[in-house]
Amino acid sequence: MSNGEVTFIIERFDPEKDTAPYPQEYKVILEPGQTLLNCLNNIKWTQDQTLAYRYSCGSAICGSCAMRINGKAVLACKTQVSDCVKDGVIRLAPIGNTKVVRDLVVDLEPFWNALKRVRPYLTPDSQDAPEKEREQTAEEFSKIDPSTTCIMCGACYSDCNVLEVDNQFLGPVALAKAHRFIFDSRDGGGHQRLTEISETNGIWDCTHCGECTTRCPTETKPLSRIEEIKVKAMAEGHHGNAGARHVLGFRETVGRRGLLDENYLPLRTVGFFNIPGLLSIMPVGLRMMWRGKNPPMIPHYVDKVGEVNNIFARFEEFRK
């Protein structure tokens, strides 16, 4: 990059005429302070008018210009080229977990559908029109402050590991949006919302891989919001699902022994009377036993376990 020249390798694709995406190279002379969006505009305006990408505000507010740079989702307008050039090369591709419309433009319909599934609007306790607006204190707002900063750019959606294998998963943006209403003091539908997103495809299907928070260009940080929803769901007794039983299994065995009882946890999570579920984990259990890999039948206690027991004895108190 000694002469300030950067090679952009951009994934091109027009489903109407191409059978598969292909890379196309463009050379740009880099000037100090240039963002990726500046360079893309430069390419489009001076080299190739057929290149398709989305952008609008150029100020990390509208969320239009998310794309994958060197394999990771970022906002083109918020990313300095100098931060991501590797050996004079930058690779651009459309965001992941979506279908390409053309080049870097993707079909966001599934993304918007996931958002609709969490009913992204306030559902007040009473449908009667209030005499004045529903007020919110600064402290109440602080709980939803991070989740209201979401600009719905799709960077988290793009790199979510679970969405890669299951397009029915609600995904980080919809769950962060659900957080924004569950924790809103003016919303009356919290219980119902928690029930819904505790079911399959909701909070407990998140692997907490952290990719969403790593890619998020705002303070939304979806994984932290998902964790907060889980804490609330557990505190409010939404325990009728495998995810919650898994958490209870941790609480029960670590609280008693200090270490996890790996024999008890799968049974607790699946459900002691869930015969098909128990049968489904039997092969791996037998396989591990056969190799001598099964956890000890008499689980360990940590030394000084009384200290751990004391902490767990005040479990409910420590929720506050």
């Binding site: 060197n70 394999g71 590797k86 590991n161 679970v162 890669e164 294998v165 299951d166 998963f169 407990w204 299907d205 692997t207 907490h208 891989c209 952290g210 990719e211 928070t213 790593t214 964790e227 889980k230 804490v231 557990m234 495998a242 995810g243 898994h246 958490v247 209870l248 941790f250 609480r251 670590v254 200090g258 270490l259 996890l260 790996e262 946890l265 999570t269 489904s280 092969p283 791996v284 396989r287 591990m288 190799r291 001598g292 890999k293 099964n294 956890p295 000890p296 689980p299 360990h300 940590v302 030394d303 000084k304 200290e307 751990v308 004391n310 902490i311 005040r314 479990f315 420590f318 929720r319």
Partner: protein, 290 residues
């Protein structure tokens, strides 16, 4: 060199071969270990999803136990490492919260977390404290010709601020250890992805698919063997490999080693001592000289 060894739950349970390998590797490297038999589970991010303060108290207690020993913590599980570092940063960033935790910790355990302990994974100790040059000098059985795919695990790479990787989006730390042991690192697209273990019991199909993608990617890249610093990843990738093979309809037979096992092998420890016979996908064939 001496560390307080935090075993975590799996190395005492379904992954006892990891503990055996850690002791063997450290013996060869002349690293002394003081096993923290009094330390509790880190919560694996799960207890924190139920009651963050209880999870933080458990971990603050662990840090205080290491401080009492005057030793830094060696983790052998990236989930424990990730949770420990994340929790510690949270506590240290908020003096008021730290004071509240310490009040409760003192009340329930008689302990105090001062904030002096350092927390490192085994592989970080090799890289930063021990040094790869020193490691190379200790290698007596170089793993020449062995193609090794590193699987990092989520907590080793994300969020980037809680790990010490030079380039968290394209790290080469594990690969550099593989090279130091005389083996050949194999890079593949899925090496930084999630293995799916945390949702194994909630959505087995998705969990198996995530592991399947990683195994399949490593296999396609020509790996003879995979190595991971996380025993939870190991459980999914190894113990569930037969189910994964039938779900993705592909024969994989890719053995998975814990990083201390790979290191110990190159240091001359026998396969039997590393308990590789307990693996579901037996590594003996892949490790046999061609």
């Amino acid at each position: 060199m001496k560390y307080a060894l935090y075993t975590g739950c799996v190395a005492k349970g379904a992954g006892r071969e990891l503990l055996a390998a850690t002791y063997k590797a450290c013996e060869k490297l002349e690293i002394e270990l003081d096993e923290m038999t009094d330390a509790a589970c880190c919560g694996a991010g799960v207890i924190g999803e139920d009651n963050p303060m209880v999870a933080d108290l458990l971990n603050a207690r662990t840090y205080s136990l290491a401080e009492e020993r005057g030793l830094d913590i060696m983790n052998i599980c990236t989930t424990c490492q990730g949770v420990h570092v994340k929790t510690r940063r949270k506590i240290d960033a908020d003096e008021k919260y730290k004071a509240r935790l310490n009040t409760e910790l003192e009340k329930e355990t008689g302990r105090e977390y001062a904030g002096t302990v350092k927390i490192k994974h085994f592989y970080e100790i090799l890289l930063h404290d021990y040094g790869l040059d020193r490691l190379k000098e200790k290698v007596v059985k170089p793993l020449t010709g062995l193609k090794v795919a590193s699987f990092y695990g989520c907590y080793a790479t994300r969020p980037p601020e809680v790990n010490e990787l030079k380039n968290p989006d394209d790290p080469d730390e594990l690969e550099s250890i593989v090279t130091a042991l005389g083996a050949t690192p194999v890079k593949y697209d899925e090496r930084l992805k999630c293995c799916g273990f945390p949702i194994l019991m909630m959505n087995k199909r998705n969990s198996m698919q995530l592991s399947g993608n990683a195994l399949s990617g490593a296999k396609k890249a020509g790996a003879d063997i995979m190595v991971t610093p996380c025993p939870l990843c190991h459980l999914n990738l190894d113990a569930y490999q037969p189910e994964i093979e039938s779900q993705i309809d592909q024969k994989l037979a890719l053995p998975i080693l814990h990083i201390p096992q790979l290191v110990a092998l190159a240091l001359g420890v026998s396969e039997k001592e590393l308990r590789i016979q307990t693996h579901i996908v037996r590594p003996e064939g892949a490790l046999a000289p061609a």
